[in-house]
Assembly symmetry: C2
Homo-oligomer: 348 residues x 2
């Protein structure tokens, strides 16, 4: 019998894990609930990736082609995990959906990714009520599909506001963590917007600008110095609407004054949450969640992919908010952990 | 002839790379210029690691023991790289110091780590002039060696200030990037300080608090809510001394007022720079540096460890500021990249 690994989730982390596991001599079944591979990059049609402005479609093409051309990787899209039984270190996984079969795996990689926070859950942003209030993911789709226009009337926006930390760092909505990438993604989007909207006023309303590491000057400073984006340290109390335009009410915490400013377009930098399936899969595979509902890393200083359960590993945003390149790296890290786990059990 | 890999640098990234390369069936020579392994963790005696308050010595013990006990890893401490010649994909490396020999390697991993910014280079902090102005690394050494006391007079400090972004995000000193971990490390240190100094006033002077991801509530919020640490958004113009105590002069950018506050102890959160040897090694191995002097990642979305030169890989803080667990993960990522590179060349 060949030694087989189940990878659950076909985003960047899962795709990388599937490819690398195969390179290490293992047979892989890659299970993806959507009818397409690529995870959030595909779902939201990310065109231009942070931090290096590389192409999202090209990244996906490479990752997807690699697994599709690999005879040792079975790709099951439109498929979900039903029941899971383990005996003697072998996982018997009943699949549902497009591939209703039972598979056996000696190890499992959970790469179930994230969902964006839905800003409709927090009434103060007016999301779902005011057509010109959109999410960052919806802005990505606008970049993909055509020119930037106000959804309400199709006009070119003359002023755009980004609101940071929507659904992140917010005890009231229950998400006390930071989503890591939204600051830098917003800076990237503002730089892209500037190319399309040379005259627009672009303002960022932030608590802290977390363009950490080498993103600092390449994204944050560049957005200010080249794209003329203005950063306002301010808390948004609510978004209302007046004369058909969204109005941001809040307090500028630097100049200590309240403001009430209309904008043509408001972009909500909505954070990351554990994907809808994560809780259910964690139960099925009996792995622990950490306090925010992400899959708990049992020993990150030893290996980022270890869970509390031997034979079950995690990669990518399933264990917390993460940038794409970090998710891809964790696909490798998980593959190595699987390899070493199985090497200790069987002769590969 | 066995297939051999040279790992340059014996910090967490290099140690992890050496161990993993061996697990993948390769022979490794680990070259470390210091007389000890462990990189910055050993050099500064980090006792309690961020983010999980795990033990630095235990981490090092595990990493070092693994390579020392591995018959496929030769460990050369006190050794540096002299000349490097490549022919037909084999690197001929002349070593200097404790092991003056020539080694052959089919691939090289550069894991040359970082140095802390030396605050004496920026006169405004009074570092080197005022005894009670210390660096975060020196505070770690205080934690390791004994109780926290004022260097000037041995008294228990009643007030402690941390200054963030020393040598980071600062065009004047030439470091335009953010060092990623100093915010969170300072929060960790403040929580530790509180245990020793239950009554001290502890203040953090910051530009942005970048406790990204899951560090937000576990370190930033916890330092405020459990340890009573006060965060002041403020820029420090200079540190002077009055009546034997350091005085912070600056502007509180939130309440818009100048301040001039004395403290018993001032901790400079000094950022990360490319290690002294990085530039020289990059020249010897003909790999490109990015704009800040770190080793350039050629294609991070494909693999974090790729450089512009085939056969030469990078791991850890040599390519930019990085947390310890990220450096360890990159040791794995680089090992896999080496493995796949060599697999394409020879039969392993």
């Amino acid at each position: 019998m060949s030694t087989s690994v189940a990878v659950i989730g076909g985003g960047p982390a899962g795709l990388q894990a599937a490819a690398t596991l195969s390179h290490l001599g293992l047979d892989v079944t890659l299970v993806e609930q959507q009818n397409f591979l690529g995870g959030a990059v595909a779902r939201h049609q990310y065109q231009v990736l942070m931090p290096d402005f590389s192409s999202g479609p090209e990244l996906l093409k490479r990752l997807i082609q690699t697994v599709n051309e690999d005879p040792h990787v079975k790709v099951y899209t439109g498929t979900t995990v039903g029941s899971v039984l383990e005996s003697d270190g072998t996982f018997h996984i009943q699949l549902e959906g497009a591939h209703q079969e039972s598979i056996k795996a000696q190890a499992v990689v959970l790469a179930t990714g994230f969902d964006h926070f839905n800003p409709a859950r927090d009434g103060k942003y007016g999301y779902g009520l005011f057509p010109d209030v959109i999410t960052g993911a919806e802005l990505e789709e606008m970049f993909a599909k055509g020119p930037i226009r106000r959804p309400s009337n199709g006009e070119i926006p003359e002023s755009v506001a980004f609101i940071y930390c929507v659904g992140s760092r917010d005890r009231q909505v229950g998400n006390t963590y930071c989503s890591r990438v939204c600051c830098a993604v917003s800076a990237k989007q503002a730089i892209e917007l500037r190319q399309q909207l040379p005259k627009a006023r672009i303002s960022m309303f932030y608590m802290d600008v977390r363009t950490y590491g080498l993103w600092e000057d390449t994204l944050y400073w560049r957005s200010q110095e080249e794209a003329g984006v203005v950063y306002v340290k301010g808390r948004i109390a609510e978004v209302t609407q007046l004369h058909g335009r969204p109005v941001l009410k809040g307090e500028d915490t630097l100049v200590r004054g309240p403001f009430e400013w209309p904008f043509d377009l408001v972009v909500l930098a909505a954070g990351m949450e554990p994907s809808r399936g994560t809780h259910d899969l964690a139960q099925k595979f009996q792995v622990s969640l950490e306090s925010h509902g992400f899959i708990q890393q049992a020993s990150p200083m030893q290996n980022a992919s270890l869970t509390n359960r031997p034979g079950v590993f995690v990669a990518g945003a399933a264990s917390g908010p993460k940038a794409i390149e970090d998710s891809i790296a964790e696909g490798d890290v998980a593959s190595l952990a699987v390899y070493e786990y199985l090497k200790a059990k069987v002769t590969l």
